[in-house]
Symmetry: D2
Subunit: 324 residues, 4 copies
């Protein structure tokens, strides 16, 4: 069927319930929580059934939704950092001397794709300092290292290959992989953060299949932290068409001839319509809001601060500005 391009488990879940109109999804447990302006959704995919239903790997997918982030209020920024660092702490569950490797995925030359590299720049990097002068390092600081390997098109080397080499030497206890995601709705861009313990799996997102980054490939738990920064325009158009068709079907007797016309609009027809609207091939049409530069700036600052706090017991919200 029409490949819906979304990296977000919540959207996949939403979508599943839209198509099948059922409340329950087999093999999937969902719990939600609301903290101030932040809604937290935890999608637990329990088994094969759940994997098939949502087309995502078994594991937990934690989503923070903060629609008001776009208002750029310091208070919301700090609440988000607090909630995100708590979720990270729980999911990483670090022991005292654990080393963390943060991988900034994406291409720092393309703003919409530069979230990963931007986050790694703003991190407090400690591994080399701890090795050079352990005594000078205050207690409650763990060894952290980071790498932004770049993208296949610019390196000619699979990202997973580069990371494997580093993992062999650094021997981290856990990896945090930061990535830009694709969402179905523009409204999600920079207002949603997804955390998962499943790492990053091939063919995810906007269809740049690549070898995965997960415990299977790297032998180390990989926590993927992603934020939607782009939307696939073809998907957006497809959603529009589905919506209008649903709307029309509701206004038509089930047995009428027209009801069949609507039901039988097939995906090839949809495609050709989509292409008429956009005048381009599908893949090419990945769009991002005009203000992407500022959006990436803000959200990468938030994530870097949350990671600093989650890893180092001695760093708190009050130290926020100290390290940028």
């Amino acid at each position: 069927m029409f490949n819906i391009r979304t990296d977000l488990a919540v959207e996949a879940h939403e979508l599943y319930r839209e198509t099948d109109s059922r409340e329950e999804v087999p093999g999937v447990v969902v719990d939600t929580e609301k903290l101030k302006k932040i809604s937290i959704t935890r999608v637990h995919i329990k088994d094969k059934k759940g994997e098939e239903a949502l087309g995502k790997k078994k594991g937990v997918y934690i989503t923070l939704e903060i629609p008001t982030l776009i208002h750029k209020e310091q208070e919301t920024f700090e609440d988000t950092i607090a909630v995100l660092s708590d979720e990270l702490k729980r999911i990483m569950n670090l022991k005292e001397k654990d080393t963390v490797l943060v991988v900034g995925l994406g291409n720092w030359q393309i703003t919409a794709d530069s979230l990963g590299p931007k986050v790694t720049e703003s991190l407090l990097i400690t591994r080399h300092m701890i090795e050079l002068m352990p005594e000078e390092i205050e207690k409650g600081v763990r060894p952290v290292c980071a790498l932004s390997p770049g993208v296949l098109g610019l390196t000619g080397i699979e990202t997973s290959e580069i990371i494997k080499g580093v993992v062999q030497r650094v021997k981290p206890s856990v990896i945090i992989a930061i990535d830009s995601l694709a969402a179905r709705k523009l409204s999600r861009i920079s207002t949603t953060i997804q955390l998962t313990d499943t790492g990053i799996t091939p063919g995810a997102g906007i269809g740049n299949p690549r070898q995965g980054l997960s415990i299977d490939e790297l032998g180390v738990p990989v926590i993927a932290l992603g934020v939607p920064t782009v939307v696939d325009a073809a998907t957006m158009a497809n959603d529009t068409i589905d919506l209008i068709i649903d709307h029309l079907m509701q206004q038509t007797e089930q047995d009428s001839k027209f009801y069949d016309v609507l039901k039988n609009i097939d995906r090839d027809k949809k495609y050709s319509l989509i292409q008429q609207v956009q005048g381009l091939e599908q893949g090419a049409l990945v769009v991002t809001p005009k203000e992407v530069d500022e959006i990436i700036e803000d959200i990468s600052e938030i994530i870097a601060n949350a990671i600093n706090i989650a890893i180092h017991d001695s760093i708190t919200l009050d130290d926020l500005n100290k390290y940028h």
Copy 2:
């Protein structure tokens, strides 16, 4: 009615003929030409009728369409520079000692909006040199000056106010105003260049009304050179809906009850559908391709070179690289 957000006369023209299904548009004459991979369309709006039909000011709108620009071939770049500089020469029609003021509109902090400032940076600026050392300047170089005044949100001053002050002092013979435009189709982004002798008029484009830049306000002919860098997502969704409705109507008997259902889908319903798809208010949804950084880089280089060649008789295609 639903305000179609396009800055392009060709799209307005296209659109007009779609809605009214007539070949001829009253008060409008269109001629087209094809040079290698570049299609040139000249829309002449002759009178009030034409102005009303296309919602654009009386004057000529020259559009270059170069779909293959995205392939980034040096040859296409050079052909575009050649054609653009010819059109500019004709429309400017400079006398020997004429001074040209180039205004780079837009916000250089927002990539999608930075075309204007980027072009002014790459221009050959001569006015001050000619004043300081007239003898050293080779023949065939005209006085050129440039300004990127910034946007109202960052200056607190109407752009037209800033330009008026400069015009009073510099007394240019002609102004070239470079701006980023909004188009209806993503395929147009960075592949279409519009030239017009009507300047820039309020409320154009994606609905940031501002005082105009035209001979009426400035007392000097203003040539507007614009390139689409963004698309209004609401417009895109609206087009999608119209297309599917048209498609369905073709499959329905004109007298059937359903035909009326389709005909009577009103714009409020459309809006609510659009907002469901995108989950955001309209204005906010201005999108741009993910690769916007690179796109702006290339096209601003092309435009700057075309302007250099169009203004200075002593500069030719062969000098292209000399001045970047």
Copy 3:
């Protein structure tokens, strides 16, 4: 004599007392103050004598020296903002409805020269909002507008010409002109801030003579706020030579033949030596620390915040992050 390239009154003063070894400088009164890690020096040039002695225009020159700024501690940042905004308030002495125009001088393409433009970007711009929706603006917010006119080389228009036009329309009560300065010592870069009520005068700084920005040209008081971001390498070399010569003279009998040798090393000889060391002409040799990108980032944030607080009674240190 050898033209010492410094924009800083404190350095000119220092220098004067080095050459003439006198404590007092005629026509100049200096008072100093120390607040936490910030030393404040106020050089009052009272009359012609003082102008000649220091080669600077009559007026007050306030210098903040914060050597520890380079340690990038949030606390020092906030102390600097507090002190700078206080000095600005006193020197501007605004009435309730006064409008302020901030001019960001320099070239945003050259990092070392981009301080002015960067500051204007980070300012709270209110003039247009107050005009559009006066009621919505909270009390204690004054109309502020800003412009970064660019440099002569990129515009072909004298900066003062551009500003004059804007001043005629905006009619500000006071102008704050932000500029990058040249210092004699690298240690001053980004650790010294100079405020003066004399505006900016031609031929100042690293020898790019330009028309001035002062009450004489613009008819409005101009406060110049400058930070050293570059050092003239020839000046640096010259200082080195003077130091070694002084050192040697101290070790030599005043009547000895060699004492004369030292005393008679003339500037032409010095020049040729300087050029041997650097292998370049003088002007070209303006240097800046390798970390200039980060330096400009930090200091422009500090200045923008200080200006916001100095202008708007309703904004305090606690709102700092709210507006960037």
Copy 4:
């Protein structure tokens, strides 16, 4: 003795002959050549004696000096690309199917240090394309991959560690490591290019000791391609002092008391003088010309083009613009 901070063999050689006033340096053979405006110097360090004399590893150091590069003429750019690609070809001596790994050293956030990363961005990367669609790749294109690993301060991982991992997987036939260098003279910045077959050795340059990148550590020949982008200000001041002392000694009788004064000025005294001039500790004082942004832009374009031509037989000077 006073550690002269230079990465350039030509400067070390020059320096050696200045101090010892001898023409010949033991264990070192030098040949020079002049092509148009480009002087080529090849310093061959033959043995231990040569290593000690110049403080550089055994091998060949090829230096291109192009003072006129700063004039930014397309012709000089192209001549430089031609000469540099020829020297690279000779030194790499590639077989038909050899894979090349280009390593862009340095920190892309600090302009003066971003040469390496900038070059890798502009390269034609082919390794992944050749693996995915060997048939589609024209003959005369070799597999090229690239990595910009970042600096220890931002990654917490030794660069050599990161590269080792990649080398194990990619198994390149040769590595080209691009780095920013430190020179003694500002005039060398961006006008000198050094090529060596010795790789990069610890403690080189401006004193950031790091593990080396050479055949000893990586088991693959490493060609280091470096361009001076910074000068150590303390070194510059030291040179100034030496020059003035030499000048004075020439004017003094060898047996005079003062001759001894001059001869006995020791380095501690020099240091304290240097610090008086600059008011800062040594290391901190790495300076770069104000126009560093533009300089890095130009030179990285030149190097990337030269590498493309040197590696791929099917790419020539005429294709230059095709790949940026």
